[in-house]
Amino acid sequence: MNGHQNGRGLALVPRAEGKQTLKDFKSDQEVRWCPGCGDYAILAAVQSFMPELGIKRENTVFVSGIGCSSRFPYYMNTYGFHSIHGRAPAIATGLAASRPDLSVWVITGDGDALSIGGNHLIHALRRNVNLNILLFNNRIYGLTKGQYSPTSEIGKITKSTPMGSLDRPFNPISLAIGAEAGFVARTLDSDRKHLQSVLREAAAHQGTSLVEIYQNCNIFNDGAFEMMKDPATRDAITVRLEHGQPIVFADQAVRLAPTGGVEVVPRASLREDEILVHDAHHPDPSLAFALSRLDEPAFAHVPIGIFRSVDRPSYDELMSDQLAAATAQKGRGSLADLLHGGDTWRIS
């Protein structure tokens, strides 16, 4: 539609004149996360990645909600808005829809995005405003000191659930795909190279991109993703998705299952053409959704990378198009004409 091509997420953002460095993106504020928090690694990865985009720093905005991760904007030397719990996607929507010349990033957590802000998240995803949403998932409430979150596993023992949590968690990737998201990816705080490669694609994507970042909370939920980091286990459970490539890892491979989903089987048991080839650009989200279910039962196999990246016009583009079309049809509005536009009469 509209002849837009993929990869135009920054097309309307002015380019930086000189070369930028990591230092340009560090604010003068002291970083105040707990020592050892996964947020440090993500902050460092983002700060060192931003210069690569080559856009004007002043046209970059970080918007956050409430939670540990939401302090993030204070540490970026860009424009920033630390807002209120769950509402960052709504605030960022107004900003991005009215300012197509900005690169707008939402920083949120599992409680912020999926609990109190769940409604804004799903509508942002379906609406497809040009935003990048980085969802730091540590599967726990950190700032309020350790209650279970909407991504905590069933049976989680926390201060508010001393006998174990009862409710089933969200899978943020499944949720995003179900909410009609055009770009959905997952990465890991400790894997800077992978994290930055995903951010690169997210920034280039026109429309809302959702990046789930597994992030370790070493105080309240330490080691939540250790199996993906421990050299002894990581290769056997981490499924690296790459568009156009067969989905293989360790000695395993993914194939279509007779149930309609996908399943992991020994690689040796398959012919090459039986191995599922990842197609992130497929308009039908069914396979991307099926891949998001590979971690059932919990952490059996965890895909990372870009699940889905499809091109469709973004809300802000379409909104601008309507304004332009209305103006092209009848010309720029005149206040005097508007006021005199109804049935009028003169009294002399």
């Binding site: 002015p14 002043e58 209120i84 605030i91 900003l95 909104m319 109804g342 049935d343």
Partner: protein, 614 residues
């Protein structure tokens, strides 16, 4: 046959029917004809929240009242002189408002056994003696309409639906209204269905001819045009005026308008209206909920837009946290609350003034906000520009309290000259504002105490704002006790220092000892009541507040210069509570919370009682 023509100085007509009978449209068209003719007028639509309550029942009755006169008038009128009742339910629901001797034009076709039974009439009131104190004109509107449309290739149902146009034609004849614009209106409304257009025009003409040629009506009436101030006029409702005011604010400020809104009665028409005007660069965003509506508006304001959200009371409750964020980040934002009857869902289509204390205090923390309220439907235009002026100049959210009565009511509006509208343009900050070359987002203007507004895209002024308390000047996170105390006081001082025009008092005698104070939509009924009292020799002063926060600087002085201050409100005394607390004045409250505006006669009695008790 020459019929008698009688001169009247004013008439109040109420059109009433089933909510599917098209009474609002009929009323709107009669209003347009009346406006074109040059009478002064005021309207009061009154409709159920249900889109289509069961046909023929009392809850399904929808009405439209129009007061028009050869002089300037202030209200839609207390009691109708004429009731057009399209069915028994419409008669029954409205009869108690009808003074003895008033005219009833009833659609006799609908007074069937079944319809009568639905509303508990054992016998048709058109046929027994129960309406003997009124002048009843029993007209078979439906069958006359169907008969008049026999030659058209339309269904019987479509023919019957045109009965409201027959009624409009009859009333247009009865009051000598100009008809050409209505015919043009019908033709354009049904442009895509020419048969329906032609048949509705035919029904309208048939109604007119019925009055002219039959003996059912022996007298018709003339109401001469009113002598209003010279100028160009149009008829306008409060919601439309408010939307136009917001557009004017966008033009006069040079900022693009961004509306984030969620549909809610009775505010949705502002969203609808603004959505039509994209060529003014207006972006309207129908959000997923009330919170997202205001959130998006605030996000747009951060980016340099004129951010607006429109809602009613329940929506304001939901938006409270975001409005608090706007207070502490000191960004301009306009929150329009078209008040309706509460609490909770209340009565969505009925009017009330019960959100004042919520607007002023309904947030956590010390969270001062300017509040303004329009007095009349056309004042909604000026108040929207004023709300924008305050928001932009002082970098603050502003709550604009309209209500259902103003929103849907209409009156002639003398169009302003665009050149006379205030210049409310804004200078965004583009340079650093400290000696050491850093940008201080909370370094205030010494006069207004407003902070600089530096929008994304401005090089060198990158900064972070948020809901956490900010250090004075730098805006960095601060938990310092003294800084918090300072910031709380600075935010309050900024609002207290807003330039608000003095409260004007109207007292032609110069010797009144009783002041009637009002705010918001009670202006018309209070002013009309005061006219009555003065006509009968009473001395009384009137003052009306458009600014509820901050108050005009002279308000305390005004209140204390009268022996008695009477304050009618459509709540249980919210403004009275504030004035008593702030100025230690023993306000006399008069409160009714019926979902309807005050009646002038009722208020005149209350005022007279206060005068007499002197």
């Amino acid at each position: 046959m020459t019929k008698q023509v009688q001169q009247l100085d004013r008439v109040i007509i109420r059109f009433a029917g089933d909510s599917g009978d098209g009474m609002q449209l009929t009323g709107d068209r009669f209003t347009a004809e009346t406006a074109e003719f040059g009478n002064d007028l005021s309207t009061l639509p009154n409709f159920p929240a249900e889109i289509r309550a069961p046909a023929g029942t009392l809850p399904g009755v929808s009405s439209f009242q129009l007061h028009f006169a050869d002089h300037d008038i202030l209200t839609p009128g207390d009691a109708p002189n004429v009731l057009v009742a399209m069915n028994p339910a419409a008669l029954k629901a409205n009869l108690s408002d009808l003074p003895r001797g008033a005219d009833i034009i009833a659609n006799s076709d609908e007074f069937t056994k079944r319809n009568l039974a639905k509303v508990g009439y054992a016998e048709s009131p058109l046929e027994d003696e129960s309406l003997s104190e009124w002048r009843v004109h029993s007209v078979p509107l439906t069958s006359l309409t169907v008969k008049a449309l026999e030659e058209f290739q339309i269904s019987k149902k479509d023919a019957e639906r045109a009965k409201n146009m027959f009624a409009l034609g009859l009333l247009s004849w009865l009051y000598h209204r100009p008809v050409d614009a209505t015919i043009k209106f019908i033709e354009s409304k049904f442009a895509k269905k020419p048969d329906i257009a032609r048949s509705n025009v035919a029904a309208f003409n048939a109604g007119w001819n019925y009055g002219e040629t039959t003996e059912a009506f022996s007298v018709s009436y003339e109401i001469k045009p009113a002598k209003l101030a010279p100028g160009i006029y149009r008829n306008i409702s409060g919601n439309q005026a408010l939307a136009y005011g917001l557009i004017a604010a966008s033009v006069q400020s040079g900022l693009p308008l961004f509306l984030g809104s969620y549909p809610i009665t009775p505010a949705s028409d502002i969203l609808h209206e603004l959505s039509k005007h994209k060529r003014f660069g207006i972006r309207t965003f129908q959000a997923e909920d009330e919170i997202a509506g205001v959130g998006a508006a605030l996000g747009a304001a951060f980016g340099g837009a004129l951010g607006v959200t429109t809602t009613s009371g329940p929506g304001v409750a939901l938006k409270a946290e975001t409005v608090g964020l706007a207070v502490t980040t000191e960004l301009p934002l306009i929150v329009v609350d078209v008040q309706r009857a509460g609490p909770s869902t209340g009565m969505p289509t009925k009017t009330e003034q019960t959100d004042l204390l919520m607007a002023l205090y309904g947030r956590n923390g010390e969270s001062p906000i300017p509040v303004v309220a329009p007095s009349t439907p056309s004042d909604c235009f000026d108040i929207a520009v004023e709300a924008a002026r305050i928001a932009l100049k002082y970098r603050t959210p502003v709550i604009l309290l309209s209500d259902g009565y103003l929103a849907n009511g209409s009156e002639p509006w003398k169009l302003p000259e665009v050149d006379d509208l205030p210049d409310i343009s804004v200078d965004f900050t583009t340079e650093v504002n400290s000696d050491d070359g850093t940008f201080l987002p909370f370094k205030r203007d010494t006069e207004t105490l407003a902070r600089p507004w530096a929008i994304p895209g401005t090089p060198g002024l990158e900064h972070r704002i948020g809901g956490i308390e900010k250090a004075d000047g730098t805006g960095n996170i601060s938990y310092d006790p003294n800084n918090h105390d300072l910031m709380v006081r600075l935010r309050q001082a900024k609002i207290d220092g807003i330039d608000v025009p003095d409260l004007e008092v109207d007292d032609p005698s110069g010797s009144a000892r009783v002041l009637v104070l009002g705010w918001g939509s009670t202006y018309g009924p209070i002013a009309a009541a005061i006219r009555r009292v003065r006509r009968s020799g009473g001395q009384v002063a009137q003052a009306h507040l458009r600014h509820l926060s901050p108050f005009p600087k002279n308000i305390g002085e005004v209140l204390k210069s009268y022996d008695k201050v009477l304050l009618p409100e459509i709540n249980l005394g919210q403004l009275a509570l504030l004035l008593r607390a702030k100025f230690l004045v023993d306000i006399i409250s008069y409160n009714r919370v019926r979902g309807l505006p005050f009646k002038a006669e009722e208020l005149a009695g209350v005022i007279q009682d206060v005068i007499d008790s002197e």
